[in-house]
Protein backbone atom coordinates (compact mmCIF):
# COMPACT_ATOMS: atom_id res chain seq x y z
CA UNK A 1 0.00 0.00 0.00
CA UNK A 2 2.70 2.46 1.03
CA UNK A 3 4.99 1.40 -1.82
CA UNK A 4 2.11 1.91 -4.21
CA UNK A 5 1.59 5.38 -2.88
CA UNK A 6 5.24 6.26 -3.31
CA UNK A 7 5.12 5.16 -6.95
CA UNK A 8 2.02 7.26 -7.25
CA UNK A 9 3.87 10.26 -5.88
CA UNK A 10 6.79 9.66 -8.17
CA UNK A 11 4.48 9.59 -11.17
CA UNK A 12 2.94 12.82 -10.04
CA UNK A 13 6.26 14.50 -9.49
CA UNK A 14 6.96 14.38 -13.23
CA UNK A 15 4.34 16.80 -14.55
CA UNK A 16 5.04 18.92 -11.52
CA UNK A 17 8.34 19.84 -13.13
CA UNK A 18 6.45 22.66 -14.76
CA UNK A 19 5.21 23.88 -11.40
CA UNK A 20 6.86 24.89 -8.23
CA UNK A 21 10.61 24.47 -8.01
CA UNK A 22 10.77 21.88 -10.69
CA UNK A 23 14.39 21.51 -9.90
CA UNK A 24 13.83 19.76 -6.72
CA UNK A 25 11.26 17.22 -7.83
CA UNK A 26 12.39 13.81 -6.81
CA UNK A 27 12.36 11.40 -9.67
CA UNK A 28 14.74 8.45 -9.84
CA UNK A 29 16.68 10.44 -12.42
CA UNK A 30 17.08 13.24 -9.92
CA UNK A 31 18.92 11.10 -7.47
CA UNK A 32 22.66 10.79 -7.70
CA UNK A 33 23.39 7.35 -9.11
CA UNK A 34 23.23 4.88 -6.28
CA UNK A 35 22.56 7.82 -3.96
CA UNK A 36 21.00 7.36 -0.59
CA UNK A 37 17.20 7.38 -0.18
CA UNK A 38 15.51 10.33 1.52
CA UNK A 39 14.83 8.32 4.63
CA UNK A 40 18.40 9.22 5.68
CA UNK A 41 17.33 12.81 6.39
CA UNK A 42 14.78 14.15 8.85
CA UNK A 43 11.11 13.93 7.84
CA UNK A 44 7.82 15.09 9.39
CA UNK A 45 6.58 11.72 10.63
CA UNK A 46 5.79 11.20 14.33
CA UNK A 47 6.32 7.44 13.92
CA UNK A 48 8.75 6.62 11.09
CA UNK A 49 12.46 6.40 11.93
CA UNK A 50 13.24 9.46 9.74
CA UNK A 51 11.02 11.46 12.09
CA UNK A 52 13.59 10.91 14.86
CA UNK A 53 16.73 11.75 12.87
CA UNK A 54 18.91 14.77 13.62
CA UNK A 55 19.98 17.38 11.12
CA UNK A 56 23.53 16.61 10.03
CA UNK A 57 25.74 19.20 11.76
CA UNK A 58 27.57 21.89 9.80
CA UNK A 59 30.97 20.75 8.59
CA UNK A 60 34.02 22.66 7.34
CA UNK A 61 35.37 20.59 4.46
CA UNK A 62 38.99 20.42 3.33
CA UNK A 63 39.78 20.61 -0.35
CA UNK A 64 40.80 17.07 -1.39
CA UNK A 65 44.36 17.57 -2.63
CA UNK A 66 44.29 14.91 -5.31
CA UNK A 67 41.22 16.23 -7.12
CA UNK A 68 41.27 18.55 -10.09
CA UNK A 69 38.13 20.12 -11.52
CA UNK A 70 36.78 20.37 -15.04
CA UNK A 71 35.09 23.76 -15.59
CA UNK A 72 32.86 22.54 -18.43
CA UNK A 73 31.57 19.66 -16.39
CA UNK A 74 31.20 22.10 -13.50
CA UNK A 75 29.01 24.43 -15.52
CA UNK A 76 26.79 21.57 -16.59
CA UNK A 77 26.46 20.35 -13.00
CA UNK A 78 25.73 23.82 -11.66
CA UNK A 79 22.98 24.40 -14.23
CA UNK A 80 21.46 20.92 -14.17
CA UNK A 81 18.16 20.94 -12.28
CA UNK A 82 18.85 17.43 -11.06
CA UNK A 83 22.31 18.22 -9.75
CA UNK A 84 23.54 21.51 -8.30
CA UNK A 85 20.71 23.58 -9.72
CA UNK A 86 22.53 26.60 -8.35
CA UNK A 87 20.67 28.69 -10.93
CA UNK A 88 17.52 28.37 -8.87
CA UNK A 89 18.95 30.92 -6.45
CA UNK A 90 22.00 32.45 -8.19
CA UNK A 91 22.76 34.25 -11.42
CA UNK A 92 25.66 32.44 -13.08
CA UNK A 93 27.67 32.76 -16.23
CA UNK A 94 26.09 31.08 -19.22
CA UNK A 95 22.84 30.32 -17.38
CA UNK A 96 19.44 31.65 -18.37
CA UNK A 97 16.73 32.63 -15.88
CA UNK A 98 18.92 32.62 -12.79
CA UNK A 99 17.25 33.17 -9.44
CA UNK A 100 17.34 36.39 -7.43
CA UNK A 101 17.49 34.80 -3.99
CA UNK A 102 21.26 34.77 -3.59
CA UNK A 103 24.41 36.69 -4.64
CA UNK A 104 25.17 37.02 -8.35
CA UNK A 105 28.02 34.62 -9.06
CA UNK A 106 28.62 35.48 -12.70
CA UNK A 107 31.90 37.31 -11.89
CA UNK A 108 32.73 35.21 -8.86
CA UNK A 109 36.37 34.71 -9.90
CA UNK A 110 36.91 38.40 -9.18
CA UNK A 111 35.79 38.03 -5.56
CA UNK A 112 39.25 36.77 -4.56
CA UNK A 113 38.06 33.67 -2.71
CA UNK A 114 40.49 30.77 -2.41
CA UNK A 115 39.75 27.34 -3.92
CA UNK A 116 39.62 26.00 -0.41
CA UNK A 117 36.98 28.50 0.72
CA UNK A 118 34.79 28.09 -2.37
CA UNK A 119 34.95 24.34 -2.00
CA UNK A 120 34.03 24.48 1.66
CA UNK A 121 31.15 26.93 1.05
CA UNK A 122 29.55 24.70 -1.58
CA UNK A 123 30.19 21.65 0.57
CA UNK A 124 28.39 23.24 3.53
CA UNK A 125 27.58 26.96 3.55
CA UNK A 126 26.36 26.61 7.15
CA UNK A 127 30.00 26.43 8.29
CA UNK A 128 30.25 30.11 7.26
CA UNK A 129 26.67 31.35 7.66
CA UNK A 130 24.60 29.42 10.20
CA UNK A 131 20.98 29.32 9.11
CA UNK A 132 21.70 29.90 5.42
CA UNK A 133 19.03 28.71 3.01
CA UNK A 134 21.68 27.21 0.72
CA UNK A 135 21.61 23.40 0.88
CA UNK A 136 24.72 21.67 2.29
CA UNK A 137 25.62 20.00 -1.00
CA UNK A 138 28.52 17.95 0.37
CA UNK A 139 27.34 17.14 3.88
CA UNK A 140 23.98 15.93 2.59
CA UNK A 141 25.49 14.05 -0.37
CA UNK A 142 23.71 16.03 -3.05
CA UNK A 143 27.02 16.40 -4.92
CA UNK A 144 30.20 14.30 -4.74
CA UNK A 145 33.64 15.72 -3.93
CA UNK A 146 34.59 15.53 -7.61
CA UNK A 147 31.40 17.30 -8.67
CA UNK A 148 32.02 20.10 -6.17
CA UNK A 149 35.59 20.43 -7.45
CA UNK A 150 34.26 20.73 -11.01
CA UNK A 151 31.95 23.55 -9.93
CA UNK A 152 34.82 25.28 -8.12
CA UNK A 153 36.75 25.25 -11.41
CA UNK A 154 33.77 26.68 -13.24
CA UNK A 155 33.40 29.50 -10.71
CA UNK A 156 37.16 30.18 -10.83
CA UNK A 157 36.70 30.77 -14.55
CA UNK A 158 33.72 33.09 -14.12
CA UNK A 159 35.03 36.61 -14.60
Amino acid sequence: MYAKRITHHLMRALPLLALCLSAYADTPANRPAGGPPFAQWPCYSYTLPCGALSTRPAHTAELPAALAGDPDRGRALAHDRRKGNCLTCHLMQGGAQGGTVAPDLSQYATWGRSDQEIYARIFDQRAFIPGTVMPPFGTNEILTEQEIMDIVSYLKNSR
Binding site: Y2, R5, I6, H9, L10, R12, A13, P15, L16, A18, L19, C20, L21, S22, A23, Y24, A25, D26, F38, A39, Q40, W41, P42, C43, Y44, S45, Y46, L48, C50, G51, A52, L53, S54, T55, L87, T88, C89, Q97, G98, G99, T100, V101, A102, R126, I129, P130, G131, T132, V133, P135, P136, N140, E141, I142
Partner: protein
Protein backbone atom coordinates in the same frame (compact mmCIF):
# COMPACT_ATOMS: atom_id res chain seq x y z
CA UNK B 1 19.12 43.57 3.00
CA UNK B 2 17.23 40.60 4.27
CA UNK B 3 17.55 39.21 7.72
CA UNK B 4 19.56 36.06 8.04
CA UNK B 5 17.66 33.25 9.55
CA UNK B 6 19.63 31.79 12.35
CA UNK B 7 19.63 28.24 13.50
CA UNK B 8 16.86 27.97 16.03
CA UNK B 9 18.96 25.51 17.98
CA UNK B 10 15.77 24.06 19.28
CA UNK B 11 17.01 20.72 20.27
CA UNK B 12 14.54 20.75 23.08
CA UNK B 13 12.15 17.88 22.84
CA UNK B 14 8.63 19.00 23.45
CA UNK B 15 6.26 16.18 24.14
CA UNK B 16 2.51 16.20 23.81
CA UNK B 17 0.36 14.95 26.60
CA UNK B 18 0.35 16.64 29.95
CA UNK B 19 -2.26 19.30 30.44
CA UNK B 20 0.46 21.62 31.64
CA UNK B 21 2.27 21.46 28.36
CA UNK B 22 -1.04 21.88 26.62
CA UNK B 23 -1.65 25.07 28.53
CA UNK B 24 1.85 26.30 27.85
CA UNK B 25 1.35 25.70 24.15
CA UNK B 26 -2.09 27.20 24.14
CA UNK B 27 -0.62 30.22 25.86
CA UNK B 28 1.26 30.76 22.65
CA UNK B 29 4.84 29.84 23.43
CA UNK B 30 6.51 30.82 20.19
CA UNK B 31 9.41 28.44 20.48
CA UNK B 32 7.71 25.11 20.37
CA UNK B 33 10.01 22.42 19.07
CA UNK B 34 8.46 19.76 16.90
CA UNK B 35 7.37 16.54 18.50
CA UNK B 36 10.17 14.46 17.09
CA UNK B 37 13.38 13.53 18.79
CA UNK B 38 16.70 14.48 17.29
CA UNK B 39 18.45 17.82 17.04
CA UNK B 40 17.00 19.88 14.28
CA UNK B 41 17.64 23.19 12.64
CA UNK B 42 14.80 25.68 12.46
CA UNK B 43 13.96 28.79 10.56
CA UNK B 44 13.25 31.35 13.32
CA UNK B 45 9.57 31.41 14.19
CA UNK B 46 7.44 34.28 13.01
CA UNK B 47 5.33 35.79 15.72
CA UNK B 48 1.86 35.02 14.40
CA UNK B 49 -1.34 35.64 16.35
CA UNK B 50 -3.47 32.70 15.22
CA UNK B 51 -6.70 34.34 16.37
CA UNK B 52 -6.30 36.95 13.61
CA UNK B 53 -6.61 34.42 10.78
CA UNK B 54 -5.48 35.65 7.37
CA UNK B 55 -5.31 39.23 8.65
CA UNK B 56 -2.27 38.28 10.75
CA UNK B 57 -0.42 38.61 7.46
CA UNK B 58 -0.55 42.37 7.99
CA UNK B 59 2.36 41.99 10.45
CA UNK B 60 3.93 39.29 8.36
CA UNK B 61 4.38 39.86 4.63
CA UNK B 62 1.90 42.73 4.60
CA UNK B 63 0.67 41.59 1.19
CA UNK B 64 -2.82 40.82 2.48
CA UNK B 65 -3.63 44.46 1.84
CA UNK B 66 -3.46 43.74 -1.89
CA UNK B 67 -5.54 40.57 -2.04
CA UNK B 68 -7.88 40.81 0.97
CA UNK B 69 -11.02 41.09 -1.17
CA UNK B 70 -11.99 40.99 -4.80
CA UNK B 71 -12.23 44.74 -5.25
CA UNK B 72 -8.74 45.38 -3.87
CA UNK B 73 -7.39 42.50 -5.92
CA UNK B 74 -8.85 43.90 -9.14
CA UNK B 75 -7.17 47.24 -8.45
CA UNK B 76 -3.80 45.50 -8.52
CA UNK B 77 -4.33 43.20 -11.49
CA UNK B 78 -1.75 45.09 -13.55
CA UNK B 79 0.85 43.33 -11.41
CA UNK B 80 0.13 39.98 -13.03
CA UNK B 81 3.25 39.08 -15.02
CA UNK B 82 5.36 41.75 -13.30
CA UNK B 83 8.27 39.91 -11.64
CA UNK B 84 8.69 42.54 -8.91
CA UNK B 85 5.08 42.60 -7.80
CA UNK B 86 3.08 39.57 -8.87
CA UNK B 87 3.97 37.58 -5.77
CA UNK B 88 2.21 40.18 -3.62
CA UNK B 89 -1.10 39.00 -5.06
CA UNK B 90 -0.44 35.66 -3.34
CA UNK B 91 -1.82 33.88 -6.45
CA UNK B 92 -5.26 35.20 -5.50
CA UNK B 93 -5.74 36.60 -8.98
CA UNK B 94 -6.30 33.03 -10.04
CA UNK B 95 -9.41 32.93 -7.86
CA UNK B 96 -10.97 35.27 -10.41
CA UNK B 97 -10.90 32.38 -12.89
CA UNK B 98 -13.62 30.78 -10.82
CA UNK B 99 -16.25 31.91 -13.30
CA UNK B 100 -14.47 30.34 -16.23
CA UNK B 101 -15.27 26.77 -17.04
CA UNK B 102 -12.11 25.06 -15.82
CA UNK B 103 -11.47 21.40 -15.10
CA UNK B 104 -12.49 21.83 -11.46
CA UNK B 105 -16.10 22.41 -12.51
CA UNK B 106 -16.25 19.07 -14.31
CA UNK B 107 -14.73 17.36 -11.34
CA UNK B 108 -17.29 19.08 -9.15
CA UNK B 109 -20.16 17.69 -11.24
CA UNK B 110 -18.81 14.20 -10.72
CA UNK B 111 -18.54 14.91 -7.02
CA UNK B 112 -22.12 16.09 -6.81
CA UNK B 113 -23.39 13.00 -8.61
CA UNK B 114 -21.32 10.73 -6.35
CA UNK B 115 -22.59 12.53 -3.27
CA UNK B 116 -26.26 12.25 -4.37
CA UNK B 117 -25.86 8.59 -5.05
CA UNK B 118 -24.16 7.87 -1.74
CA UNK B 119 -26.60 9.86 0.39
CA UNK B 120 -29.66 8.41 -1.35
CA UNK B 121 -28.50 4.92 -0.47
CA UNK B 122 -27.24 5.97 2.96
CA UNK B 123 -29.29 8.87 4.32
CA UNK B 124 -27.02 9.20 7.37
CA UNK B 125 -23.98 10.11 5.29
CA UNK B 126 -24.62 13.86 5.01
CA UNK B 127 -25.43 14.11 8.70
CA UNK B 128 -22.17 12.39 9.54
CA UNK B 129 -20.20 14.94 7.51
CA UNK B 130 -22.28 17.80 8.96
CA UNK B 131 -21.95 16.71 12.59
CA UNK B 132 -25.69 16.04 12.92
CA UNK B 133 -26.82 18.53 10.33
CA UNK B 134 -27.73 17.13 6.92
CA UNK B 135 -27.68 20.58 5.35
CA UNK B 136 -24.02 20.97 4.47
CA UNK B 137 -24.06 24.61 3.45
CA UNK B 138 -21.27 26.15 5.53
CA UNK B 139 -20.13 22.80 6.94
CA UNK B 140 -16.73 22.98 5.22
CA UNK B 141 -15.94 26.34 6.85
CA UNK B 142 -15.63 24.62 10.25
CA UNK B 143 -13.11 21.94 9.25
CA UNK B 144 -10.67 20.77 10.57
CA UNK B 145 -12.70 20.23 13.74
CA UNK B 146 -12.19 18.49 17.02
CA UNK B 147 -14.44 15.68 18.20
CA UNK B 148 -14.37 15.21 21.99
CA UNK B 149 -16.05 11.80 21.70
CA UNK B 150 -13.28 10.27 19.63
CA UNK B 151 -10.67 12.74 20.90
CA UNK B 152 -9.63 13.21 17.31
CA UNK B 153 -9.13 16.06 14.87
CA UNK B 154 -11.02 15.57 11.63
CA UNK B 155 -10.11 17.19 8.38
CA UNK B 156 -12.86 17.20 5.77
CA UNK B 157 -11.14 14.46 3.77
CA UNK B 158 -10.55 12.42 6.92
CA UNK B 159 -14.20 12.78 7.89
CA UNK B 160 -15.34 11.68 4.42
CA UNK B 161 -13.17 8.58 4.68
CA UNK B 162 -14.58 7.88 8.15
CA UNK B 163 -18.24 8.45 7.27
CA UNK B 164 -18.07 6.43 4.04
CA UNK B 165 -16.75 3.52 6.06
CA UNK B 166 -18.99 3.89 9.10
CA UNK B 167 -22.24 4.66 7.28
CA UNK B 168 -21.84 2.99 3.90
CA UNK B 169 -19.15 0.39 4.54
CA UNK B 170 -17.23 1.91 1.66
CA UNK B 171 -13.46 2.46 1.44
CA UNK B 172 -12.70 6.01 0.33
CA UNK B 173 -9.12 6.61 1.47
CA UNK B 174 -7.90 10.19 1.64
CA UNK B 175 -6.07 11.22 -1.48
CA UNK B 176 -8.12 8.84 -3.66
CA UNK B 177 -10.15 10.45 -6.47
CA UNK B 178 -13.40 9.19 -4.91
CA UNK B 179 -12.65 10.99 -1.67
CA UNK B 180 -11.35 14.18 -3.30
CA UNK B 181 -14.45 14.46 -5.53
CA UNK B 182 -16.75 14.36 -2.51
CA UNK B 183 -14.54 16.78 -0.63
CA UNK B 184 -14.63 19.25 -3.52
CA UNK B 185 -18.42 19.02 -3.64
CA UNK B 186 -18.87 19.56 0.11
CA UNK B 187 -16.40 22.45 0.01
CA UNK B 188 -18.24 24.05 -2.92
CA UNK B 189 -21.37 24.22 -0.78
CA UNK B 190 -19.44 26.79 1.28
CA UNK B 191 -18.17 28.78 -1.70
CA UNK B 192 -17.84 32.43 -0.72
CA UNK B 193 -18.22 31.73 3.01
CA UNK B 194 -15.32 32.64 5.33
CA UNK B 195 -13.26 29.84 6.87
CA UNK B 196 -14.12 29.52 10.54
CA UNK B 197 -11.95 26.85 12.16
CA UNK B 198 -12.29 27.01 15.95
CA UNK B 199 -8.76 28.03 16.92
CA UNK B 200 -9.96 28.74 20.47
CA UNK B 201 -10.56 25.00 20.92
CA UNK B 202 -7.56 23.73 22.98
CA UNK B 203 -6.93 20.53 20.99
CA UNK B 204 -6.91 22.47 17.74
CA UNK B 205 -4.68 25.09 19.28
CA UNK B 206 -2.17 22.43 20.31
CA UNK B 207 -2.31 20.91 16.82
CA UNK B 208 -1.69 24.39 15.45
CA UNK B 209 1.46 24.73 17.55
CA UNK B 210 2.67 21.30 16.46
CA UNK B 211 1.98 22.18 12.83
CA UNK B 212 3.83 25.45 13.27
CA UNK B 213 6.82 23.53 14.64
CA UNK B 214 6.82 21.33 11.55
CA UNK B 215 6.46 24.32 9.23
CA UNK B 216 9.63 25.94 10.58
CA UNK B 217 11.64 22.72 10.95
CA UNK B 218 14.31 21.96 8.38
CA UNK B 219 14.09 18.52 6.88
CA UNK B 220 15.15 16.39 3.95
CA UNK B 221 18.25 16.21 1.79
CA UNK B 222 18.12 19.92 0.91
CA UNK B 223 17.71 20.93 4.55
CA UNK B 224 14.77 23.21 3.72
CA UNK B 225 11.82 24.06 5.94
CA UNK B 226 8.43 25.08 4.53
CA UNK B 227 9.28 28.45 6.05
CA UNK B 228 12.50 28.59 4.02
CA UNK B 229 10.31 29.58 1.11
CA UNK B 230 7.18 30.84 2.84
CA UNK B 231 8.46 33.19 5.56
CA UNK B 232 9.57 36.81 5.15
CA UNK B 233 12.52 36.09 7.47
CA UNK B 234 14.33 34.26 4.69
CA UNK B 235 15.63 35.76 1.47
CA UNK B 236 13.43 33.51 -0.66
CA UNK B 237 9.91 34.88 -0.39
CA UNK B 238 9.09 37.33 -3.13
CA UNK B 239 12.26 36.56 -5.05
CA UNK B 240 12.63 34.48 -8.17
CA UNK B 241 13.57 30.82 -7.94
CA UNK B 242 14.36 30.36 -11.60
CA UNK B 243 10.86 30.97 -12.98
CA UNK B 244 8.91 30.46 -9.75
CA UNK B 245 7.91 32.75 -6.92
CA UNK B 246 6.85 31.59 -3.52
CA UNK B 247 4.36 33.54 -1.48
CA UNK B 248 3.01 33.98 2.01
CA UNK B 249 1.26 30.91 3.50
CA UNK B 250 -1.79 32.99 4.44
CA UNK B 251 -5.14 31.94 2.93
CA UNK B 252 -3.59 28.91 1.23
CA UNK B 253 -6.34 26.65 2.56
CA UNK B 254 -9.22 28.57 0.95
CA UNK B 255 -9.08 27.10 -2.53
CA UNK B 256 -8.26 23.46 -1.84
CA UNK B 257 -9.07 20.93 -3.28
CA UNK B 258 -7.64 22.81 -6.24
CA UNK B 259 -7.72 22.11 -9.93
CA UNK B 260 -4.13 22.30 -11.18
CA UNK B 261 -4.35 23.47 -14.75
CA UNK B 262 -0.76 22.46 -15.51
CA UNK B 263 -1.40 18.88 -14.42
CA UNK B 264 -5.06 18.55 -15.23
CA UNK B 265 -5.91 17.03 -11.85
CA UNK B 266 -7.50 18.07 -8.60
CA UNK B 267 -5.26 17.97 -5.55
CA UNK B 268 -6.00 18.30 -1.86
CA UNK B 269 -4.01 20.46 0.54
CA UNK B 270 -2.31 17.41 1.98
CA UNK B 271 -1.41 16.07 -1.45
CA UNK B 272 0.18 19.44 -2.09
CA UNK B 273 2.20 19.13 1.09
CA UNK B 274 3.32 15.67 -0.06
CA UNK B 275 4.38 17.10 -3.42
CA UNK B 276 6.30 19.96 -1.85
CA UNK B 277 7.94 17.38 0.44
CA UNK B 278 9.23 15.47 -2.53
CA UNK B 279 10.68 18.63 -4.00
CA UNK B 280 12.47 19.19 -0.73
CA UNK B 281 13.60 15.57 -0.88
CA UNK B 282 11.77 14.74 2.32
CA UNK B 283 10.15 11.33 2.73
CA UNK B 284 6.49 11.98 1.84
CA UNK B 285 3.72 10.77 4.12
CA UNK B 286 0.25 9.48 3.32
CA UNK B 287 -2.64 11.96 3.22
CA UNK B 288 -4.23 11.80 6.65
CA UNK B 289 -0.93 11.27 8.45
CA UNK B 290 -1.10 13.01 11.85
CA UNK B 291 1.82 15.27 10.92
CA UNK B 292 0.01 16.43 7.78
CA UNK B 293 -3.18 16.97 9.80
CA UNK B 294 -1.20 19.28 12.10
CA UNK B 295 0.19 21.17 9.10
CA UNK B 296 -3.33 21.48 7.70
CA UNK B 297 -4.59 22.87 11.02
CA UNK B 298 -1.72 25.39 11.04
CA UNK B 299 -2.37 26.50 7.46
CA UNK B 300 -6.14 26.63 7.99
CA UNK B 301 -5.73 28.89 11.02
CA UNK B 302 -3.76 31.24 8.75
CA UNK B 303 -6.73 31.16 6.38
CA UNK B 304 -9.44 31.86 8.95
CA UNK B 305 -11.79 34.61 7.85
CA UNK B 306 -10.92 34.28 4.17
CA UNK B 307 -13.77 33.15 1.90
CA UNK B 308 -13.66 29.69 0.39
CA UNK B 309 -13.16 29.48 -3.36
CA UNK B 310 -14.41 26.15 -4.61
CA UNK B 311 -13.75 24.76 -7.13
CA UNK B 312 -10.43 26.59 -6.96
CA UNK B 313 -7.87 26.65 -9.74
CA UNK B 314 -4.12 27.17 -9.71
Amino acid sequence: MYMHNRIGAQTKRARVGGALMALALAAGASTVAAQQGGAREYVPFDDIDPTLGHLADMEFSGTVRYWKDEETLRQHLSWVGDPENEWKLNYKHRDLEYDELHGGHFYLEEGEAAFRELSERHPGFAGCIGWGEADLVGAATRYPRYDPETNAIWTLEGRIEHCAKAIAGQELPQGSPGNTRLSLYVKSLSHGMPIDMDIGQPALRIAYERGKGLFYMKAGQFNFACATCHSPKTPVMGRRLRGQMSTTPFAFAAHFPTYRSARGTVETLQERIGLCSRQMRVTPLRPGDPAYVDLEVFLTALSNGYPIVSPGVR
